[in-house]
Symmetry: C2
Subunit: 517 residues, 2 copies
C-alpha cells in the first residue's frame, strides 16, 4: 500500500496492473501514445455490407470469446438493459471462465451477474456498481478488485491503453446491417450511445445488438459501422421506460426544495447568471428542482443560456423548446422527453465522454461550464466529497460524470445536513472521490458554506443576505442536534475497489465491510 | 526497382520509406496496429476553452514548426483556398526548410508553392497534384518523390502510420474558440471538412483557421475541438465560389451527352435500376449528364434510390429534394447548392474517407454501391485504367475517390473514344491507377465494352439492343480512323511519383518527362 498526495492508502498494484498514486489536481502529466487498435482490411468483411449473424451466441463465437477476455457495454438503458445478462448466460453455457466485465455502469437489473461471478464465468467487474452488485463487491464477493472511474476516466482508461477491451457489445435501438447504429429512434429508443463510443473505437471486436434493423444507411450514425464486426437482431434489447430511475424524479421534500431554491439564489447572487451562461445539473431530485428555480429566475431576468449540459430530462427540454437555451449538450437521456428532443431538435446535441469529460484530450466541455450542481453522500470540513460509498462504508453508487464536472468554474453541492439521522458533513469522508480544492460551495438547509479558496465567491455574495456560514459551524450544529458525529463504518483492511481520478491515478481505496457476527 | 504483380516496375524505397509492391486486388493483408497520437492533458489547454491566438504565424510557432516537418490540409475549397500559400510564405520567412506538404489535394491556386520548393522551404508534395504543380513535378522539380493516393488511401496512410503529420492546418468556414468547426455555414461555407478529419485525429498539432468565429459551441462540429490545439481568425479563408471548377460543369458536347445517355440505358438494361438502389457519379461533365438521364428514367419508372454518394451538385440536391433518394452520402460539395442542402436537409449527410473509402476498416460504403460512373484519361484492352497522367506522360490529375469507387458492384467508365485526335483505348495505359479486374464496363460513342469477367452483365444485357462490342473492336476502329495507335510518351527512367493502391502497396511509377530539345 502507498500513501498518495492526500494521505489516502492505495494499493501499488491492482488486478496485476501497476498503479500511479494520485499526485494532486492537474499534477500528473501523462506520457506516451494512445492505445492503437489493430489495422483491419475490408477484404475480411462482406462487400455488400451485411454483417448480420443469426444469434448472440454466434456473434460471440465469431468474435472469438474465450477465457480471461474483457467484455464491455454501455449503460444507456440504465436499469432496463436486456442484453448483458444474456451475454453472460451464453458465456457461462459455453464454459468460458475468468472474464472481466467492463460496463460503463451496472444496475440492479444485472443482479444475475452475481451468479456468473460465483460460477466462475466472470472474475470481476470494472465499472460503476449501483445497488446489489456494489453491495456484493463490498462484501468481498469478486475475484479481482473493482475499479471505479468517472465517465471521463473510463474514456481516458481505454484511450490510454489502461483497459484493453476484447469484445464490446453495443445495444442499439436502431441499426443497419452494416453496423451503423443510433439510440434516438426505434421502439427501444434510449437517446444516445455515447458511453459506448470509446468501446467501438478501441475494442478488438464490436458487436451491435438491435431490435430495429433498418435499411442501410441508419442515420444518424452515432456508432459507425466501420468500427463494427458483427450485427445481431434480438426481439428486444432494452426497456426504455426504465431509464427513468428513482434518482431522476423531482424531489417533494420541503427541505430539499428549500436547498434547491437556496442554490439557485446563490447562483444569482454570485453573478453567475448572465446572458450566454452555461450550467449542468445532475439528475438527482434536488438538482432537478434547482433547474426549475433557475428557469424561473432566467425568465424573470430575461436571461438565456448558451448551453446546458445534460443528462437531459423533460425540464431541460422545456427550457430548450421555450428558447431559454440555445443548446443542450447531452451525455445521456434520463427520460423519454429527452429521447424525443434529441431526435427532433437541432439544438439537442448528442455528446460523448470524449467531448465532455476526457481529461486526456485537448480540453473538454466540463471545464467551460459556469456552474455545476451535483449530489454527494458525504462532505468533509475540507470540502472533500464522497459519492460512491455510504457512511456505513458500503459501495452503492457509481461516479458518473461527477468527478469530471468538478472542473467547472463553480461547483456546488446542495445536500441535506443529515440523512436518516446521519450527519452528512463529517471530519473525514469515508472515501475521497472529489478533492476539496475543486468543490466550491456546499448548500444545506442549515446554511451555505463557501470554500475559503474561493475568495471571489465569498466577496461576490457577502451582501446577499443568504445564510452563508462556515462549514465547521454547520457541522457542529448538526452534530450537536444528532448527539455527536456519526459512528465510523466497520471496515476490514482488504481493498475491494479503488477509486480512480480523472487522470488515471488512484485517489482512494474502498474496503471490505466487516461481516456482522 | 521491383516488378509488382501486374508487371509494373516500382521503387523499393521512396523518400526513405520501404515500399510494398502491389500484390493484387484484396491480396495484401495489413498487420500491426493503427498509428497512435500522443496522449494529451487538459492541464496544458485553457480551462475556459479559448484557444485563439492572434496570427497564423503565432499559431505555427506555438505548434513548433521546424525543418523537416510534415504539414497537412484539406482541399474542400478546391481552387479557392486562401490559407496554405500564407502558411508556406510564413514558413519561408521563418527560414524553415525541407518541409513535406501533405494536402488532400493541391490546385492551380497553389502555384506559388513552386517558389517555396525552389527556395528550399518545401522539399516535396505528397498528395494529388492538379495542373501546374503536377506539371512541375513531372519535370522533376521536387526534391523528393510524389506519392499519389486515393482519398481512402490517404486515410489509410495516416491511420496506418505510413504518414505522420506534424501540423495539420484546417481552414474552417465557421468555428468556435475551442476549435469545434464546420464547413456547412458562414460566409465562406464550403460544405464539409471530411478530408481534414483524419488529420485532426492523428496529427501531433492541429490549427483551425476560420473567418467566422461563433460563440461556443459551433454546431455541427464536423471537426471536434478536443482534437484542436490552436485557433486563428483571418479575414477570409477561402473563396467558395471557386469550388465549382471546370470539371463540375455539365457537358454540352453532343458526343458526351450521347455517351451519358448510353450509360444510363446500360444501367437500366442491366437491371441495376431498382427501388432502393444506390449510385455514385463523379463530378465530370459526362457523369453529371448521366445522373440527369438516370433521374428521368427513375421518374418514369417510379423508382427511388436509397442513397446517392456525392460529390454533391445541384443535380443531386434536386433528386433529394424531389424525393428520388432518401439520402445523399456526401464526401465533398461541388457547388453552393450542395452546401445549402447539407446545412438544411437531414438526408444530406456529411461523410469522410473513413466511412466511404478507407480499405483498412471494417468495411466501407464504396463496396456497397450498386453502380458507380467515373472518368479516365486512358483505358487499355485489359480494362486497366489511368486517371492521373495524360497520354503524353504528364501527371496532371489526382486520384480522388476514383480507386476506392472501383469496388462498387458495377463500375462504368463513360469516356470518349478519342480526345484531340488521341485514342483513349490503348494497348497499355501509361500509368495503371485501376486494375482491369475491377472495371466492368467502358462506354464510348462507338459502343459499349463489357469486361469479359462480368458474365452476369453480358448475359443481362445481351438482348438489350445496346451497341455492345468487344473492346479490341472499338480500339481497332478508332486506331484505324486516327491512322494508328498513339505515339508513346517521351519519358526518362527517373521516377517522379508513385501511385499507391488503396491498401498502401505501390501500383505503378510515374516518370520524369524528357525535356524538349
Amino acid at each position: 500500500m502507498i500513501k498518495n498526495s492526500i494521505g489516502r492508502m492505495i494499493p501499488g498494484e491492482v488486478n496485476g496492473v501497476k498503479q500511479i498514486p494520485f499526485k494532486g489536481v492537474a499534477k500528473y502529466k501523462p506520457e506516451g501514445l494512445k492505445a492503437a487498435p489493430p489495422i483491419r482490411s475490408c477484404s475480411d468483411y462482406p462487400t455488400d455490407g451485411n454483417k448480420v449473424v443469426s444469434s448472440l451466441q454466434e456473434a460471440l463465437k465469431k468474435c472469438g470469446l474465450k477465457d480471461g477476455m474483457t467484455i464491455s457495454n454501455h449503460h444507456h438503458f440504465r436499469n432496463g438493459d436486456l442484453v448483458m445478462n444474456q451475454v453472460f448466460e451464453i458465456a457461462s453455457e459455453m464454459g468460458v471462465k475468468g472474464l472481466r466485465w467492463f460496463p460503463s455502469a451496472a444496475f440492479p437489473c444485472h443482479k444475475p451477474v452475481i451468479d456468473h461471478i460465483n460460477n466462475g464465468t466472470i472474475d470481476w467487474i470494472e465499472g460503476s456498481l449501483n445497488g446489489p452488485l456494489g453491495d456484493f463487491a463490498s462484501g468481498g464477493g469478486m475475484r479481482g478488485t473493482g475499479v471505479l472511474r468517472s465517465h471521463g476516466g473510463r474514456w481516458q482508461a481505454v484511450q490510454d491503453g489502461e483497459v484493453h477491451i476484447d469484445i464490446a457489445v453495443i445495444a442499439a435501438p436502431t441499426a443497419d446491417e452494416f453496423g451503423n447504429a443510433t439510440g434516438d429512434r426505434g421502439p427501444s429508443a434510449c437517446g444516445l450511445l455515447g458511453f459506448g463510443l470509446v468501446d467501438t473505437l478501441y475494442a478488438d471486436k464490436v458487436i451491435v445488438v438491435t431490435d430495429n434493423l433498418v435499411p442501410f444507411p441508419c442515420l444518424p450514425w452515432q456508432i459507425q459501422g466501420q468500427n463494427v464486426d458483427v450485427v445481431v437482431v434480438l426481439d428486444k434489447v432494452g426497456e426504455p421506460e426504465k431509464i427513468v430511475s428513482g434518482t431522476t424524479k423531482l424531489t417533494r421534500s420541503p427541505d430539499r426544495l428549500y436547498i434547491a431554491e437556496l442554490t439557485a439564489k446563490f447562483v444569482k447572487a454570485a453573478d453567475i447568471l448572465h446572458d450566454g451562461f452555461s450550467f449542468q445539473a445532475g439528475a438527482g431530485g434536488t438538482a432537478l428542482a434547482f433547474a426549475i428555480y433557475l428557469k424561473e429566475m432566467m425568465k424573470n431576468a430575461g436571461i438565456k443560456a448558451r448551453f446546458i449540459r445534460g443528462g437531459s430530462t423533460k425540464y431541460l427540454v422545456e427550457m430548450l423548446e421555450e428558447g431559454l437555451t440555445d443548446f443542450i449538450l447531452d451525455g445521456q437521456t434520463f427520460d423519454l422527453e429527452g429521447v424525443r428532443s434529441m431526435r427532433e431538435n437541432f439544438g439537442h446535441v448528442n455528446t460523448s465522454p470524449f467531448t465532455s469529460y476526457n481529461w486526456h484530450g485537448k480540453g473538454n466541455f466540463a471545464t467551460m461550464l459556469d456552474v455545476v450542481v451535483l449530489g454527494a453522500t458525504e462532505v468533509d470540513v475540507n470540502f472533500n466529497a464522497n459519492v460512491v460509498t455510504h457512511s456505513d462504508g458500503r459501495m452503492l453508487h457509481g461516479i458518473g460524470g461527477w468527478q469530471n464536472c468538478l472542473f467547472s468554474k463553480c461547483t456546488i453541492l446542495p445536500i441535506p445536513a443529515f440523512r436518516d439521522r446521519i450527519p452528512i458533513i463529517v471530519d473525514k469522508v469515508t472515501t475521497v472521490v472529489g478533492p476539496g480544492e475543486l468543490i466550491d460551495v456546499i448548500v444545506t438547509e442549515r446554511g451555505i458554506a463557501i470554500n475559503p479558496l474561493r475568495k471571489d465567491l465569498i466577496s461576490a455574495t457577502k451582501n446577499s443576505k443568504l445564510p452563508i456560514r462556515k462549514i465547521e459551524e454547520i457541522k457542529a450544529e448538526v452534530d450537536d442536534l444528532i448527539g455527536g458525529p456519526p459512528t465510523k463504518p466497520e471496515l476490514t483492511d482488504e481493498v475491494v475497489s479503488i477509486v480512480k481520478w480523472v487522470d488515471g491515478t488512484v485517489l482512494d481505496s474502498i474496503y471490505k465491510i466487516k461481516e456482522e457476527e
